[in-house]
């Protein structure tokens, strides 16, 4: 099979799908030893000036309509209109601070997260629960999903706009969630990074699942 034929296969698969496909998944469809990255690069160049472009989102590949045609194609989307100011702000906090607990979101916004905010974001499949933090109370942490990255055209959460500036300004430092923390000078102890779960407590569980 020549290179052109392999490119046609990837083109057909990517064109037919409305979800991004990983290069690994695509590689399974072309003969072994094909340079899938090179094929994808070539496809991307082929489409760069067309009405549809091949883009890399969430570490995967997808065809979508060209960004500069947005003004012609724009539609007000149901999902977005439904989002409240609180939900948008919560989404941004989850995106930039992930993994983040509910208490931390409340601390940053200075107000409790109303019921329905998180489940609206989860229903939109933009937010999901991650692992539990290994601190007292074992609170659930939240993060963004692949759908979130795809929706906003990001390859990685590291590509979030202005992330490094936030970091440099110290705004992504550990959030002290003790109530009225303004008065409290204690070192926050719940902010240890999430460790991969591997303690004995759980290991029997793990094995049961394998």
């Amino acid at each position: 099979m020549d290179n052109y034929e392999q490119m046609r296969i990837c083109e057909a698969l990517l064109f037919a799908s409305d979800r991004p496909l990983s290069s690994i998944a695509l590689a399974e469809q072309v003969p072994e030893g094909s340079d899938i990255e090179a094929i994808l690069q070539e496809l991307q160049i082929k489409y760069q000036n067309c009405g549809v472009n091949l883009v890399e989102v969430a570490g995967k590949w997808m065809f979508q309509t060209a960004a500069d045609l947005a003004f012609l194609l724009r539609k007000e989307e149901e999902k977005e209109r439904k989002l409240s100011r609180a939900a948008i702000e919560t989404l941004a906090i989850i995106a930039y601070h992930q993994p983040v607990t509910r208490a931390e979101i409340e601390e940053i916004r200075g107000v409790s997260v109303s019921k329905g905010t998180l489940d609206v974001l989860m229903e939109a499949v933009w937010v999901r629960s991650l692992s539990r933090r290994r601190t007292p109370g074992r609170p659930m942490t939240y993060g963004t999903t692949e759908d979130f990255l795809v929706h906003f055209g990001l390859n990685n959460v590291k590509d979030l706009p202005g992330l490094s500036e936030l970091k440099a300004a110290g705004f992504l430092d550990n959030v002290n969630t003790s109530r009225l923390n303004l008065l409290d000078d204690d070192e926050p102890d719940e902010e240890q990074p999430d460790l991969p779960i591997n303690d004995e407590e759980i290991s029997s569980e793990d094995q049961a699942i394998v």
């Binding site: 309509t65 941004a92 107000v111 989860m122």
Partner: protein, 278 residues
Amino acid sequence: MKKGLENKIEEFEMPDPRITKMDDLDKEERLIVDIDGFEGPLDVLLTLSRTQKVDLKQISILDLVKQYLRFVTQATALRLELAADYLVMAAWLAYLKSRLLLPEEENEDEISAEELAARLTYQLERLNAIRERAAILMSRNQIGRDMFVRGTPEAVVVTRHHTYDLSMYDLLKAYAEHKTREAVADIHIFKRNVFTLDQAISRLSDMLGLALDWTNLEQFMPTDIEDQQLIKSIKASMFSASLEMAKVGKADLVQKQIFGPLFVRGRKQNYTKEDDNG
């Protein structure tokens, strides 16, 4: 434009619809406030700080505190119900204000007033920064609004791992719904093992007869109980019993420090005034 040239540029900025300036804007800068529009005390502080028209790092915390306290007073005057969050913040800011106004005492255990003010500024800056990011994020080209994926997708072989279209949301929703139904279907109310107030009063009055001096209430607790639930119940009931007996004049209570042990002493029948200091 009667305010003069220096304010000219600012006049063009859209006023925050949630804060409407009253009357002819006397120096007091009075505010009418729509509480519903705000998302908590930090939101109010952030909005108020904008009226100072400077970098958040350079805002006058003292002015901000005054504005916030005025906001809370006015809201209360208008009989708007303020959530506890707003009042807690008001109390804290009043404390901060007094610290900022009074000369600082040397105290290593306490955080300095400047440090407290800096922390507040930090929180405001952090919220402001995340808001800016939220706005940037939402203004990005979005799939389904600005850019579109294939309108007639076909399932491709490479998605074979996902046989069923089921999201975490669906799964959790199903479990929650199940739990909801279960709650309606069968309600088991377990009889809790409790130590009643009557039992406690009877135990305490018996034992107070034996102990003449001040005695830690803890020492009247039964020692042979292992059930943690029951121990809690006994503590609560014994505490209530001691209050009850103090109320009817059968015992005196004293506690020397907050969260310290509670001492109890039986009152003799021929009780004199000088015993009343406890």
